[in-house]
C-alpha cells in the first residue's frame, strides 16, 4: 500500500524536474549565446544571500531527514522539533528571497525586456534577469508548496495522527522537500557562482 504512494511521489518529482527542465534549457542556451552578459549578471547578484540561502536549505534537508530518523527510533517529540526547525529554515529562505528581490527592484533590476534599467547593459542581460526571476520565482513557489506540506505534517505529528508506527506521510513530504533543495543546489551556482 505504501509502495503505491512512494512510487507516486517519485513520479511527481520526475514531472516537476521536467517542468524546471525547460527553464534550465533556456538558461543554458542563452548563456551559450551571451556568455559575457550572463557572467556580469551573476556578478550583480547578491552573493551573501545566495550562499546563506544554500546553507539554509541544505540544513533544512538535514532536519527533515533527521525527523524521520527520530520517528523511526521512537522519538516523536524530537521529530516534532526537527520538523519545526525545517519550517523555520524554510521561512527564513523565503524571507531572504523577498528581501533580495526588493533590493534588486530598488536597483532597477526587474524582469521583462522593457523594464530593465539596472546597472549592466548589453544584449542578453535582461534575459539573464528575466530568467533569474522566473527560475527563483518558480522555485520559491515550490518552497511555499513544500513548506505547506511540512506544516501539515508537523500538525499531524503534534496531533498524534502521525506516529512511529505510521509516518508514511512524513516520508513522502520529506522526499518532495529534498527535491526542492536539489533544484536550488543547481540554481545557486547558475545565478550566484559562475562568473
Amino acid at each position: 500500500m505504501n509502495r503505491r504512494y512512494h512510487l507516486a511521489v517519485w513520479i511527481v518529482i520526475a514531472s516537476e524536474a521536467l517542468l524546471f527542465a525547460g527553464l534550465f534549457a533556456l538558461y543554458w542556451s542563452y548563456r551559450g549565446e551571451y556568455p559575457a552578459a550572463f557572467s556580469s549578471g551573476v556578478a550583480l547578484d547578491i552573493h551573501w544571500i545566495g550562499g546563506l540561502n544554500t546553507f539554509i536549505l541544505l540544513t533544512s534537508s538535514f532536519t527533515i531527514a533527521w525527523s524521520i530518523h527520530m520517528m523511526r527510533t521512537l522519538r516523536p517529540r524530537a521529530a516534532l522539533w526537527s520538523l519545526a526547525a525545517t519550517v523555520v529554515l524554510g521561512l527564513a529562505f523565503l524571507a531572504l528571497k523577498l528581501f533580495e528581490w526588493s533590493i534588486h527592484i530598488h536597483d532597477g533590476i526587474v524582469p521583462g525586456i522593457h523594464y530593465y534599467s539596472g546597472p549592466a547593459a548589453g544584449r542578453g542581460i535582461s534575459l539573464f534577469f528575466t530568467l533569474y526571476y522566473m527560475m527563483t520565482g518558480l522555485h520559491a513557489l515550490h518552497v511555499v508548496a513544500g513548506l505547506s506540506l511540512v506544516v501539515w505534517v508537523l500538525v499531524r505529528v503534534r496531533r498524534g495522527t502521525i506516529f512511529p508506527e505510521r509516518y508514511v506521510a512524513l516520508e513522502l513530504v520529506a522526499l518532495y522537500w529534498h527535491f526542492v533543495d536539489v533544484v536550488w543546489v543547481f540554481l545557486w551556482p547558475m545565478f550566484y557562482l559562475m562568473r
Partner: protein, 83 residues
C-alpha cells in the same frame, strides 16, 4: 539511514557548498560548479531521499528524469552554439 550517515552527509554537503563558494571566487568556472552541484545532488538523493536503500523502480525513475532534463538542455544548447 542511520544517524551517522545523515550527519556525515550533511557535513559533506556543507563542505561541498563551501568549496563551491571558494572556487567561484578563485575563478573556478562552470564545469567545477556544476560538478560540485552534481555531487551534492547525489548525496541528497542517495542518502536523504534513500535511493540507495530504496526500490529499484524509484532509482530508474530518478535516472530517467535526470536523463531527459540533460537531453533537453543539451539539444537546445547544441543548437545555439553550433549555428
Amino acid at each position: 539511514m542511520t544517524a551517522r550517515s545523515l550527519v556525515f552527509t550533511y557535513i559533506l554537503l556543507v563542505v561541498l557548498a563551501a568549496a563551491s563558494w571558494l572556487l567561484a571566487d578563485v575563478g573556478g568556472g562552470t564545469a567545477v560548479a556544476l560538478l560540485i552541484a552534481a555531487l551534492k545532488t547525489l548525496a541528497i538523493a542517495l542518502v536523504f531521499m534513500e535511493l540507495w536503500i530504496g526500490h529499484a523502480s524509484d532509482r530508474v525513475i530518478a535516472v530517467v528524469a535526470l536523463f531527459f532534463v540533460v537531453l533537453l538542455c543539451a539539444g537546445a544548447l547544441a543548437d545555439v552554439v553550433t549555428r
